[in-house]
Symmetry: C2
Subunit: 293 residues, 2 copies
Amino acid sequence: MTIYLIGIDGGGTSCRAAVAGPDGRILARAQSGPANILSDPDTALESIADATRAAFNAEGIDARCIGSARAVLGVAGNNVGDAVRHVKNRLPFPEADIESDGLIALQGALGNDDGAVAILGTGTIYISRQRNTVTYIGGWGFTIGDLGSGARIGHALLQETLLAHDGIHAISGVSGSVLAEFKNDPRNIVEFARQAKPGDFGRYAPRVFEHAKQGDAVAARLLKEAAVSVDEVLDRLVARGTQKICLLGGLGPLYPSWIAARHQNLLATPVGDALTGAVALAVSRFRHLKAIV
Amino acid sequence: MTIYLIGIDGGGTSCRAAVAGPDGRILARAQSGPANILSDPDTALESIADATRAAFNAEGIDARCIGSARAVLGVAGNNVGDAVRHVKNRLPFPEADIESDGLIALQGALGNDDGAVAILGTGTIYISRQRNTVTYIGGWGFTIGDLGSGARIGHALLQETLLAHDGIHAISGVSGSVLAEFKNDPRNIVEFARQAKPGDFGRYAPRVFEHAKQGDAVAARLLKEAAVSVDEVLDRLVARGTQKICLLGGLGPLYPSWIAARHQNLLATPVGDALTGAVALAVSRFRHLKAIV
């Protein structure tokens, strides 16, 4: 029986699966529901099985082959032992590795090259690989980390808007737009911020990039400050030997022009996405099994 | 019957009262329990009555005189109509004004002079008075305001400590002390920060001032950043005509050397405390009553 190789990219809103033959070529992809192994492991297990079955069906592969397939899963929370054990013991595959969502993103972006990825989304985390040693930097979350992230940029915009309202900083298009949105009442902004989760702040980040592009001085200042914090981490990566960096996440495509000149020549276009990375890891780890069976 | 004039300084941890004779001279002071009119108005009412009775007792004044006394109370939350109405209708005084804790602090610090106070504690708020017009700036709270406050300085120190742990910034005495306190495990810092209230962050602020004084470069950088945000508000106050500023609050005595040179000649020593200010306001507002009775 053919041993198929599965890649899974499990996220809080959806789970993506791809199935490859023993030669590593991707045959089909499919998607299912949420797969957060920390907050809801049983739903995650269902979503993982659903996405895998759908990928097999799409290619017309006998679903019984799932029982001999090998998989690599990339998920958030892969460092939480209990959650990983719970999920790993209940997967439909005889053998599987559960890795971080960052690692499969790195594999997808860099292929087998050494280098690093900066995942710049609602939060930020940096992952580098050199001669098979993988190092994580950051990823501490919004409260006292994630500098340069969408959540921090959005937070900075709301703070800036209060300063503009109080006449401490000059108002500009971007802070004026927030003030208008909150009916020119700073108490509405404060109340929103007190309830806001990182994602709520993060939704303001694209607006800062848009206004900065149009020449808004306040937006440009906020992005320069954010970019400094990203550049500081890139400096650290470079000092450790990184020579190639892919900017990923929702802000990945928006950030390059704000990154310092000294890092421009390091920036590389990702060769594939996280799902491709999960499949590639599954292929490299489990391909030898075809000889055994 | 003598109409005594009462000043009340009501705070979340204690309530202070002072009683003055019709000539405005303070006869006695006393203290009681918490007086937060927002979170616990009934306890606040008890504390206000307790502190007033204790002040009368201390001077041997007949407690029945409370029923003809006039008072000015300075409290947090004086702009919340419902809370003020609830408390005002139940005070033991036939007439009283409920003002902000900031206003009595301003009156205490400046006497009858025009000028401003910067209240630099766990939070920050700025209050200026010019020809009887009182203006408030800031005071929006920790989440997206209170720049330069103890809470923001402490928050910055914890964030800095994570950056030092990750090798992104150089470690120094002050960040090293935090890292050691959290057993060199950044997850402990992140967990603390996720649960921390502004006061919990604020408790780290004096440490930053101490290390900066001893020449710690990281502590000095954090304070320079904090002081820039204070100086920006002082610029605004100066632009509006303020010529005299008192720095109050727990950080008030620590901040002067960090304030920009352009503001040094504006800084003034407070002439009295908030309780003195409350009494002074009571005297100026209700002293005329002695003629009526």
